[in-house]
């Protein structure tokens, strides 16, 4: 009995499978104004995945244009619109809301709550995402085209495009999505502070919950600065004010400060939950407790804090005074300390572990390793002299795609595979999962690695035609991107097929720790038969017996 991992959880009923509240969620509920956090979580994840496919399609058109040095697929205004909307969709309609969806599903389960703190607010926040996204996409139908000023929308460029209708729609849609994010932030912070089960102290929370706490604090206290900046930009376009118009004495650099005061921390809003995902998956598949749990938890908070004082490193080339450059160079390099703590903790967790290289683990390992690469180019870019050299080149594009795709999107796939049995009550097909991983891993590196040499050689970003000397690397990147596009097909087939008719999953197929695995798969309406009482910290993998190992379906 001593090595029973469930012992730490008093009151968790193991025979919960056929109780009164375990009714299956019908498909209709996913299209309704449901206030169940699990339904809302799935709504978020499926909706944002559709936006991911749209954003990916735009990226493939961009890469199609870049196969040849000449302008031959789309015209320049459309090309500008494509990269503007590609960035906007991937950040504001894919990664950030997907993380919110995942957290919506998991946080109440992980802290032993029956739902989020404000279920109705939660549903309203979700239902603002589809209109906001459709509004943004609708600007493709405008005669004057979409917003064309890039996802930053720097003035004066954003004030100069003809008619500006696309720009206005872009701003309005971002404000709608922003309000939804603030509602989500209020809900998560309150949930984590107030809804934890008895005995679930802060230092007993899984790292994923810590990461949501940190990232949602950033949303709450940085996002409003962007909203403020966008309101001023909108007034400049529509109401004749002069905040950012240099010709009228306005200050366009001020917009850059307001924009990056949110949009740098936004990177951490995107990546911290994925660090949380890695911290859940790596211990489960190496059967070791997470190394240095407390350090990792505190490093998460430290990352959130440091990320609010580094924003001007995006502006080293924007007449930023010398003292500011040095200050922000220093703070930016400081980021490497807590991220180093995390990478070290993951390595030490996997070290001498009993590895089970199933799909979630492959994606988590792949993501964590490629984050190392992204982190190294990040430290390079933090150094002002180097940054000035590669400013506005493909080196920067390569760097942040290693973060947003090779780390974050890989982490998202890891999370989907890891919690798929919990969410749907069924197992996915392991073989197709591995094929998906290898296609993604190879495709992502083929696409984004060539951007680094291209940038070092001086190829500028956001151009649709370029010097023929850059063509070789561009062809590789484009072919890689088509492979990357194809790699989602086995994923979609696997997930849809398994959801409909996959083999039934056990309640805890990975023999993982965490309250979400102690309830049934899928969890009943209010998550737990009886609210558990928590008595020990997470990741007690030493408590499991020899035979309790993660197993994929069909491998028994």
């Amino acid at each position: 009995m001593t090595n029973n991992p469930r012992e730490g959880i008093a009151g968790a009923d193991e025979s919960a499978e056929n109780s009164h509240s375990t009714q299956q969620t019908t498909w209709r509920e996913y299209f309704s104004f449901s206030t169940d956090h699990k339904v809302i979580g799935v709504q978020y994840m499926v909706t944002t995945f559709i936006f991911f496919l749209i954003g990916g399609l735009l990226a493939m058109i961009i890469r199609g244009e870049l196969i040849t040095p000449k302008l031959d697929v789309v015209d320049r205004p459309l090309y500008n619109g494509l990269f503007t909307l590609h960035g906007t969709i991937m950040i504001f309609l894919w990664i950030i809301p997907f993380n919110v969806g995942l957290a919506n599903y998991l946080v109440p389960l992980m802290i032993g709550a029956r739902d989020m703190a404000f279920p109705r607010l939660n549903a309203i926040a979700f239902w603002m995402i589809p209109p906001g996204g459709l509004l943004l996409l609708s600007s493709f139908l405008l005669k004057s085209g979409t917003a064309q000023a890039g996802w930053w929308s720097y003035p004066p460029v954003s004030l100069q495009s003809p008619h500006n209708q696309g720009e206005v729609i872009w701003i309005l849609s971002l404000v709608i999505i922003g309000i939804s994010s603030i509602m989500g932030g209020v809900n998560f912070i309150t949930t984590i502070f107030w809804m934890r089960a008895p005995g679930m102290t802060f230092f007993r929370m899984p790292i994923f919950v810590w990461s949501i706490l940190s990232s949602q604090l950033l949303q709450l206290f940085c996002l409003p600065a962007l909203t403020g900046g966008l309101i001023l930009l909108l007034l400049d376009i529509t109401a004749g004010t002069n905040f950012f118009k240099p010709s009228e004495g306005g200050n366009p650099i001020l917009y850059q400060h307001l924009f990056w005061f949110y949009s740098h921390p936004a990177v951490y809003v995107m990546v911290l939950p994925i660090f949380g995902v890695f911290s859940e998956i790596l211990p489960a598949f190496s059967r070791n407790p997470l190394f240095g749990y407390r350090s990792v938890a505190l490093a998460t908070i430290a990352l959130a804090v440091i990320s609010t004082v580094v924003w001007a490193h995006h502006m080293f080339a924007s007449v930023t005074p010398g003292w500011m450059r040095i200050l922000f160079m220093f703070t930016s390099m400081l980021v490497a300390v807590p991220t180093g703590i995390k990478e070290f903790a993951w390595t030490a967790t996997v070290w001498r572990g009993r590895l089970h290289l199933l799909t979630p683990m492959l994606f988590a390992l792949g993501g964590a390793v490629m984050f190392l690469f992204a982190g190294i180019t990040g430290v390079m870019l933090a150094s002002t002299p180097f940054d000035l050299h590669v400013n506005n080149t493909y080196f920067v594009v390569g760097h942040f795609h290693y973060v947003v795709y090779n780390t974050i999107t890989m982490g998202i796939f890891a999370a989907i595979y890891f919690w798929f049995p919990k969410i749907t009550g069924r197992m996915y097909v392991e073989g197709w999962g591995k094929i998906h991983f290898w296609l993604t891993f190879i495709g992502a590196n083929l696409t984004f690695f060539p951007m680094h040499p291209l940038g070092l050689h001086g190829m500028l970003r956001r151009v649709s035609s370029y010097d023929p000397e850059y063509q070789w690397w561009n062809v590789i990147a484009s072919l890689g991107s088509f492979l990357l596009g194809m790699s989602t097909l086995p994923f979609i087939a696997n997930i849809v097929g398994s959801w409909l008719r996959g083999p039934k999953a056990e309640n805890n197929p990975w023999h993982a720790t965490g309250l979400e695995w102690q309830t049934s798969s899928p969890p009943p309406k209010e998550n737990f038969e009886e609210i558990p009482v928590v008595t020990e910290p997470p990741y007690h993998y030493n408590d499991f017996g020899e035979t309790e190992q993660p197993e994929a379906a069909g491998q028994e």
Binding site: V186, I189, M195, P224, G228, I231, L235, F243, E248, T535
Partner: protein, 220 residues
Amino acid sequence: MESSTHKDESPIPLEALRRLLPNWLKRFLPSGGGRAHDEHGKSMFGFTVFLLSESVVFVSFFVTYITLRLTTPHWLPPGVKGPDLSTAVMINSVVLVSSSFVIQAAEGALKNRNLNRFRLLWLATSAMGIFFLVGEVREWLGLDFGLSTGLVGGTFYVLTGFHGLHVFTGILLQMIMLVRSFIPGNYDQGDFGVSAATLFWHFVDVIWVILFSLVYLWRA
């Protein structure tokens, strides 16, 4: 194995700190969990978090105003006097700030379940808010600059307008709470709405004090 440890194993002596803090701040301290049943506390916590977030929008406008004002060589275009600290503005500010005390008294009356006194003071707060808004619009109409007059116009109307929008929202909230106070048994589930509307009104007042200092007291 029944557990006894519900305390947070935090390295900071939280218990000692907890006793020193005012009630509203205590909400933000971590706990050992198990307080999901406290609906009023939970809702007020969420609302406070929202207000803190909302205040960052104002901060971004204040920073914009201060930066532009400090870096623009000719803040006032020729012939423009800029915002004027007139008697009307003074009276307006005094009315708005004192309404904070009135609404606090109203909340206190409700705590004592003195419903009629609550409604009277509550209505007085709304009246003071409306007085402020009317005064603000009258001030706007009498000014010698518009939204697109240099940077002084844009910043002035955005700051006062965005704040006025919040005053308006506050009055709407008060109206809803007033109507609800006539529903029998409205306060059986607690009085979160009244507490939230009160806190919101204090928030609007604090913003006004900062705005007033920056816009009217800071002379060119």
